[in-house]
Amino acid sequence: MDFNPCMKHKVVRKAVRMFAETELGPIAHDIDRDARFPTEVVEKMRPLHFFGLQAPKAYGGAEMDTISYAIVIEEISRISAAVGLCLTVHNSVGIYPIVRFGTAEQKKRFLPAMAGGERIGAFCLTEANAGSDAGGVETVAVRDGSDYVINGTKIFVTNGGVCGTALIFAITDTQNPQRSAGVFIVEKGNPGFAVGEIEDLCGMRANPVSSLFLEECRVPETNLLGRPGDGLKIGLATLDAGRIGIAAQALGLAQAAFEDSVRYSKERQQFKKPISSFQTIQNYLADMATEIDAARLLLYRACAVRDAGRPFGAEAAMAKLYCSATATRVTNTAVQIHGGYGYSKEYDVERYFRDAKVTEIYEGTSEVQRMVISRAVLARRT
């Protein structure tokens, strides 16, 4: 078991870090303040395969291994978690379901534009009455000839404001919601598909999270991923993959907060000494470093299991649970270490603090992650 990063992973990290620091670094603060999605940086990311990180080469993707993928998301999130969020949602829960469950025709139709970043993906599951309880979904897709007509409202859709290809989780038989769910691919421009207002959120503000309205939205049956009833299976598999991306995103946040804390504690002097010479601060830094390291190893382990082709649901859930908890704890401590300055928008730590919290909520709350892990644990013991 070699815990040293291989050369490829080192080079990927450096290349993405350089890009992130150069292109996102100068604007990260402002896009959060103004809740502005940085389309100009997205344009630069497109030819570099940021929107097709694991997509097959045949469709214009980079076909990277999962650890490389996690590194990319982490490094982007280290500078701007909101942009990292856009990328992970697009790659993990936008492109991946189509790669895994799509027909050759669907892949050919949808993937090239997505892998090239022309169409940004979004996965739409959550509704007003359906958060952790996916069974409470009320969006309905009714068969009409060789089409489906979809009606419903999806909320808190990440990338909603800029998405070009949405994967809509809908039920096809209201009598039998669990077994009749399906994932429908709906493209922007399709009549009956409308984007609602952008949410005003505590963090991840540069990501245009919004509602999506489906009103008599008609799509051909060839836009259904898999067969009717596969929705639950696709949803669960998708969320497994998504967890790795979110874990990487949370890790990037924690890393950024930690680095800033180390630097600040060396520079800031009180009682004529740098605060890094005080044991309390040293303890904080030690705990932060240990948690981040543990989170990182959990994440890469989940990536490795996935790439080995084995079931990785529990491992991914552990990674997401732990990375997001680490992000919240580390960013909280980071603000504390920065003292009054940490509370000011002049420093980045308050943004990391605001951004971190949601990593414990979306793509499966920490409570749901525990459900997944405990089921796996209990299943193994028999």
Binding site: M7, K10, V11, A15, P47, L53, A62, E63, S68
Partner: protein
């Protein structure tokens, strides 16, 4: 087919400089490396030539084993193959020895080359000497600090702005140029290219024996200069801190430094005493 060789150096990432003020030394082995910015420009120039008129690019680097990273990056950006010159005996080389090593390696690994491109200088040693010295070793014409280059058959035309002269020059291939950062801006690395560069890339590793070098003439042994001492110029800098109301601060500033500021701007800043 135009055969190009791009010389690339891996230099420490500036923001990662591990400097030990206690011992006064640079811990080079701890620093992460990156492709020297000017070498990126040289690679960009070669890539543009390849894109407009065709050609084949070999990226070559001399360094410790981890210098392979820059070759992979070069291939990800569009170079066709890489050559890594690595050998403990090569360590500690000054520019003259480096140019000798590179020259012999280029002759061995890229026979029949047409154009050698180097960055004009490196961000660590900043000597700007290897390029011209390499031209001498290879006994080919060379032009340093070019801003622009165009290939016309077996002749290249170059433009540069040096020492207040805007010059257009020409030379017949084979030749060498060192490239200025500016027009040839470094490009971002496509991630798909990186993946491919690691999946299966043509990278050859050569040591001193493989190139046929005399061990007495390379590395620190062959170098004419010796470093006596290295230090950080700003270490232990004591500065003056001014705080308080802006008006008072500015008063203090002029109280102490009116001569200094006045001298720099060429005006007398002392207030008249009544």
């Amino acid at each position: 087919m135009l055969k190009m060789v791009v010389c690339i150096k891996q230099v420490p990432m500036v923001s990662e400089l591990p400097w030990d003020p206690a011992t006064g030394t640079l811990q080079r082995d701890l620093a992460e490396g990156m492709m020297n910015p000017a070498c990126r420009s040289a690679l960009d120039a070669a890539l543009r030539i390849k894109e407009t008129g065709g050609g084949e690019i070999t990226a070559i680097t001399m360094g410790p084993p981890m210098a392979e990273e820059v070759l992979r990056e070069a291939i990800a950006l569009g170079a066709d193959r890489g050559v890594l010159l690595t050998d403990l005996k090569m360590a500690g080389a000054d520019t003259s020895v480096t140019s000798h090593t590179l020259a012999r390696a280029i002759e061995k690994a890229c026979p029949g080359f047409d154009l050698v491109l180097c960055g004009f200088s490196t961000s660590d040693s900043e000597t700007a000497q290897v390029g011209p010295q390499l031209a001498e070793e290879l006994d080919i014409p060379g032009v340093a600090y070019i801003d622009e280059i165009g290939v016309f058959g077996q002749t290249v035309r170059m433009q540069r702005f040096t020492d207040h002269f805007l010059e257009t020059l020409e030379m017949d291939l084979p030749g060498l140029v060192t490239v200025n950062t500016g027009r040839y801006a470094p490009r971002n690395v496509p991630l798909g290219g990186l993946q491919a560069a690691f999946d299966g890339a043509d990278i050859v590793s050569l040591d001193a024996a493989a190139i046929g070098l005399d061990p007495e003439r390379i590395g620190a042994k062959g170098s004419a200069t010796k470093i006596l001492n290295v230090y950080s110029p700003t270490a232990g800098k004591k500065n003056i801190v001014l705080t308080g109301a802006p008006k008072r601060i500015v008063e203090q500033l002029f109280e102490r430094f009116d001569d200094k500021i006045g001298g720099a701007i060429g005006k007398d800043l002392k207030t008249e005493r009544k």
